[in-house]
């Protein structure tokens, strides 16, 4: 009888940890393939993550240009965990580290949650042309609905843009309709995959000057997780 009980427990435990193992393995093997692809196409080094490089690439950012640490955020506007991060964690990071000039935040596009995501990201990058990315970004997350439910249809994206004070509508529409930034967003996706990022949100925290010492944070983690990584880096930089 004890054997029966032990067998049942072993089966249950194996099921739970097997599931974890299966998914971590599936994910890592896929990551490996993508890494090989990305490395074959183009070698992407840590220099890609220097703050100056990221800004040159046209990525939206907030914070002081001389901030010693950069957080690169790979997100999708349709991802509800990204909205969770924007609602709960980002304001604390902003208040504690960005406004005090210690951290700069750079946004990278990783549209992988649905078929409508690409349009939302192109529109956001068009808003960035007019210096309105963060307003557009906030507006999208505040109004997020179910994935591919039509809430980021072309018409709705134009409506969202028209709600942003000071945004030139004609310029935005021309940029959006011509899909100006599709290639740039595709490059962000390649960059994300080269770093092994397939889920959103994913973050990489680096030294701003040379993009070195990357620390990866996966998922919509709470503020203390970011705090531990940032404080560790700030301590290292002081030494």
């Amino acid at each position: 009888m004890i054997v029966n009980i032990l067998s049942a427990l072993v089966v249950m435990t194996a099921f739970v940890f097997g599931t974890l193992l299966l998914f971590s393995h599936a994910d890592s093997s896929f990551e490996y393939k993508m890494l090989v692809m990305a490395q074959t196409a183009e070698s992407i080094g840590s220099s890609s993550f220097t703050l100056s490089n990221l800004i040159e690439q046209g990525s939206p950012y907030i914070g002081n240009l001389s901030a010693p640490i950069t957080i690169v955020d790979f997100s999708d506007f349709q991802c509800h965990l990204c909205a969770r991060h924007v609602k709960n964690t980002e304001p604390l990071i902003n208040e504690t580290y960005i406004q005090t000039g210690q951290v700069a935040l750079v946004f990278k596009h990783l549209p992988n949650r649905g078929f409508d995501s690409m349009g939302a990201h192109i529109a956001a990058q068009c808003a960035n042309d007019q210096g309105k990315f963060w307003q557009f970004y906030k507006l999208l997350y505040e109004n997020q609905q179910a994935i591919d439910s039509g809430w980021v249809s072309k018409d709705n994206l134009k409506k969202f843009a028209s709600q942003i004070p000071g945004l030139e509508k004609e310029q935005f529409n021309t940029c959006f309709d011509s899909q100006t930034y599709k290639e740039s967003i595709d490059n962000d996706v390649i960059l994300a995959h080269s770093q092994g990022f397939f889920d959103t949100p994913s973050f990489i925290v680096v030294d701003s000057t040379d993009g070195s010492d990357p620390e990866i944070i996966r998922g919509a983690q709470p503020f203390p997780a970011f705090q531990s990584v940032i404080e560790k880096k700030l301590d290292e930089l002081k030494k």
Partner: protein
Amino acid sequence: MISLPLSVKVVFSIPTYILIAAAVAIPFWILFNAFDQLIFFDPIWIFYLPEDAITGFILTTIVTILIGMLVSMNIYVIRHSKLKISRGSLFSGSSLSIISGVCSSCSSVGFLLISTFGSIGIIASNLLTIYQIPLRIISAAILFFALYYIHKRIVQSCVMDFSANNMKTDQKYPEKSDI
């Protein structure tokens, strides 16, 4: 005052079954909450319950407790098989609990489908994301049904029918004069 069902009282009056239930429920609870991004292990160990996750968390906790109880009660039934309870109850109860447990985890696992299955993964993930809460409610309902089923099995085995028509024995209750 609400009293616990007899089967629950009988099974969980024995500490071993409480331990078995906990040993089953806790790993499932960790697994489901890790998929829901409420528990993190890297860069620090942390549990986090944002407002938008409260409903899902409550349902997940109910489901994992039910899974633990069901497995434990099924083990009780096997151990007391001399009560002539069909071992089929193990399969009906446990398989339902595991299926619904998997179902519950799928709603979170869906997020991982995209990277593995491309466009089909996107569709599957969208459906699982949209119907995450209903899926968990269905899981809990299936588990409650399984629990009711196993409860009935345990309780029925304890009932004695004293009605004269059903007393199939040729022995008589001793009279005072017989002693």
